[in-house]
């Protein structure tokens, strides 16, 4: 098995795992972690593409690397906003769950 294929499989496995986690885990923190994992899988695949595209004698195609860094920053910001919302929700409601509650309706 070539190393490129190994990374492909690892990235795809991460994506599959995280989509599964996102769907079955009801807790928003678990969903958030699953989304981060999904991001990691996508970034890993992008890294593989960069390596594969390095035919001009460079160590790798620099464009995907630049894009992955931007992607990581974006994913980090999303995580930060979600954690802030979660903390606020926990302090307001006493628990952090996104299940609908009908009793709050006047």
């Amino acid at each position: 098995m070539s190393p490129v294929l190994l990374f492909w499989l690892a990235g795809s496995g991460l994506i599959g795992l995280s989509v599964y986690g996102l769907i079955v885990n009801p807790h928003p923190l678990c969903k958030l972690l699953a989304l981060n994992l999904l991001g990691s899988g996508v970034f890993l695949l992008f890294g593989v593409i960069a390596r594969r595209g390095a035919s001009a004698g460079l160590g790798g195609d620099p464009v995907p690397q630049a894009l992955v860094i931007t992607g990581i920053v974006v994913a980090f910001s999303a995580t930060a906003i979600a954690v802030a919302l979660l903390l606020r929700l926990h302090s307001e409601a006493g628990e952090a769950s996104i299940d609908e509650e009908e009793d709050g309706q006047p």
């Binding site: 928003p28 969903k31 695949l45 931007t70 906003i81 409601a93």
Partner: protein
Amino acid sequence: MMPLQALAVTETTPGGALLVLGIVMTAVALVGLIGLGGRGARAIVIAALLFQLYVSVRVALMVAGTQSPLAYVVGGFHPPLGITLRADGISALMMVVSAAIFLGAAAFAWKDFAQPKGKPESRASLIFWTALLAMASALNLLFTSSDLFNLYVGIELLTFAAIPVAAIKGGADTLRAALRYLLFAVFGSMLYLFGIVLLYGAYGTLDISGLAAQLQPNAATLTAAGFVTVGLLAKTALFPFHLWLPPAHAGAPAAGSAVLSALVVKGSLFLLMRLWFDTFPTLREPADMQLLALFGALAVIVGSITALRQQRLKLLVAYSTVAQIGYMFFVFTLAPKDAGALIAETAWTGAWTQVVAHAFAKAGMFLAAGLAAEVLGHDRIRDLGGLSSRAPLVVLAFALSGLSLMGLPPSGGFNAKFMLLVAALAEGHWAWGAVIIAGGMLAGAYVFGVLARMMAEPAAGASLKAVGHGRQWIALGLSAVAVLMGLLPLEPIAFLAIGRAL
């Protein structure tokens, strides 16, 4: 039909720098906002939005004058390495619409999010103005960029600016809705990113016209297109993914709901239309496009019926957004690559008229719903009585918006639905035609239901507050634009086809 090469405008055109101004000036104002603090925030935001309206109108006039898109090659680096900003007819249209509605919403929020002297500055108000400006900037980026990764950044900026507005009221329910919105949106954008990673792997470029020129309908491309589409559908809140939208939009303050419902969902929709008509036109198989139209039809029916069953006014208005978005998805099947040009252009014009008419009508309707809640102190539909005697302009604004949502003539909604209906019948898609008519009738049911309540006697013991005339006129003005669009001729609008190979 133009050859695909005609799409690839790679040189900066005269006036192309305006596109940069449209994105950068709002970003500069954002920095100023954070530096100068909250007291002057609203004035800076209004000034920046006025400037944006000026730039957008200039762009639209130049596009209309030269009958060709504006382009700007950022930094002189050409694609595939660099990024090209490009404004064709639909970009210019959406830039103007977005600037106008943002300005209306900002003027509406002028008093609500004031920072009066002598009182400590409130954080909510600074956040609101910052987020409003950030949304305007991100939307302009979405409308003009032609690089798929740049568009990813734009769509994420839009989400991150929209979430604080959805969450700004605090309270467990609102926070829950905002969190669900965020999870859906981030999931959607991860799928989108996965799709463009695959595209880059296959073609080595992310430039829209560059991709379109070398696209092969193979398994990798189809997979990529599938992921990108599903990701964007989650962000657009099309039918199976619509559950996050109503609580998030209904929980925001009135001006925030107006821009969220009128413009922010259109950001990802715009990208979806851009992708399927400019990047993947060769992939448009009738069966796949029928699937999108089917989801659109289900959105129209399910959204309208759920709206009918709501007990809160803002939730009703939000569910009507779910339904109205559905209509826009008929364009994917009604503008097929091999149909007669006239039918395709009719459907294309109908869809964009729907986007714009819905934007104005929904902005006006959410502002009216916000004012109604302020007059009555609640937004239970059952107890809306007395509103028409206390705030008749609010009822009028709601009714005019409703006219466009139902699709009664004369209104932009009528033009849109009529053109979509004509295209549907001309192509033999009678089922979609039936859905368009049924959706209009259901919209009539929920709009007239609310209007009847508004004109009823006030409930016993209800105390009605007065609201300022200025804000009522803003709501009325936005609704009136949706109705006045009905004066446009019922035929394909050439402006919308500028710079496109439809």
